[in-house]
Symmetry: C3
């Protein structure tokens, strides 16, 4: 089972994804908690405040893994459901480290075939004005291709806004 | 009854919100017209043209109130349904006047508990690329938190695009 | 029959629109293929790569027309279904050549009344932060007005994200 939550900044997508995976695994007790795979690499003050909020919310419900780059290798080891928070940050890290776009998308396609249940969180960044800046445009492009490909492999896809979700698939 | 219309620039959200509140109150006659609470403070030429269009559309269906800052105090006095147009502009005014974010969100949470019916219009600004500019990022953040909180207290939430609405709640 | 696909950059809107029109005309054989009206005028390297991908995907299913400006005159001559890819680019071309906004919207309104079936692809650009730049703001505005007007005349409207569509009308 693969599920995608896509939405904007502060759309509540992470919270919805957490509630979703926890509801699906409500009867589980440690050590059967789902994994929470955090992909953030670069941490400034602003980011650090955001992370603290996310961590507090997760409390004791998840086993946290931190991995900014090796998404496939990490997920292949997981035998329990994983919440990936978030794919956009992983894309960003991969592009920053100059991994070619085709390699990134190929790795992501393989990720979609791992055996464990996945709940993926991803940013929708393509519904505003097209950015002037070529790097930002590249990010919008790769992000959209990644979203389409994940959605194609997912059983369920939800678009998020205002803390609510719309089922797209 | 509380209802939120969230959407982009020129998504038709204001027009949809007006049609919605007028339909709900179609049998009312003056002095029972709903209030139209306009929150715009800063008016340049571009804004002024926009406002003229909105005003023309409202015609004789609303009693217009203008209040850029004192949202709660104004709404507490209202005994009839109010269309708030729009929450984003009020957030913008509050941030401009350096009201702390926590105070803004606290006031908005209290607003959601006033006794009169509310139809709230709000901009979705989080579905494009994350802005470079820290102030714009802060606005996106506060705007998204406000949207989530309003949506949680609303009976109905509609996402708007192309002059159409999708029911999210 | 008029149908609008609106969505972000790399939302899959073109692909969805192509699949839609081809499915509707699945039993047709040449010379009854639908038209594909490409509106792109300015072609840089980035654009050229995008176009090559679109063309490859269209293969032998469409008769391609290329027209960056004369949308109405072109469509009035068509006796078979037309996929317009895309309205946003046409708006952009018209604004670049300083056609007044009212003339653009008037032409588009007349387009919506041509007798042939139309499948229109349009960018949603209004769900991010409002741009600093006055020209970009003008584009967002015209684009939104165009979307509302097309949607009003369409029998079906789909919002696209992640290669999926949500029926709005």
């Amino acid at each position: 089972m693969k599920t995608l939550f896509i939405g904007g900044v502060k759309s509540g997508k992470s919270r919805l994804a957490e509630a979703y995976i926890l509801k699906a695994h409500i009867h589980r007790t440690a050590p059967d908690k789902p994994y929470y795979l955090a992909t953030t690499e670069f941490i400034d003050e602003e980011m650090s405040a955001r992370i603290a909020i996310h961590q507090q919310r997760r409390q004791d419900h998840f086993v946290t893994l931190e991995e900014p780059m090796q998404l496939l290798a990490t997920l292949e080891l997981c035998k329990r459901p994983v919440l990936v928070e978030c794919v956009s940050m992983w894309l960003n890290n991969m592009l920053y480290h100059q991994v070619p776009e085709t390699d990134i998308l190929l790795e992501l396609e393989t990720v979609m075939k791992v055996s464990c249940d996945l709940v993926l969180v991803h940013n929708e960044v393509g519904l505003g004005i097209i950015p002037d800046n070529a790097l930002a445009r590249q990010f919008v492009d790769v992000s959209g291709k990644a979203a389409q490909m994940m959605a194609q492999h997912c059983d369920e896809v939800f678009l998020c806004s205002a803390g609510l979700k719309i089922a797209m698939k």
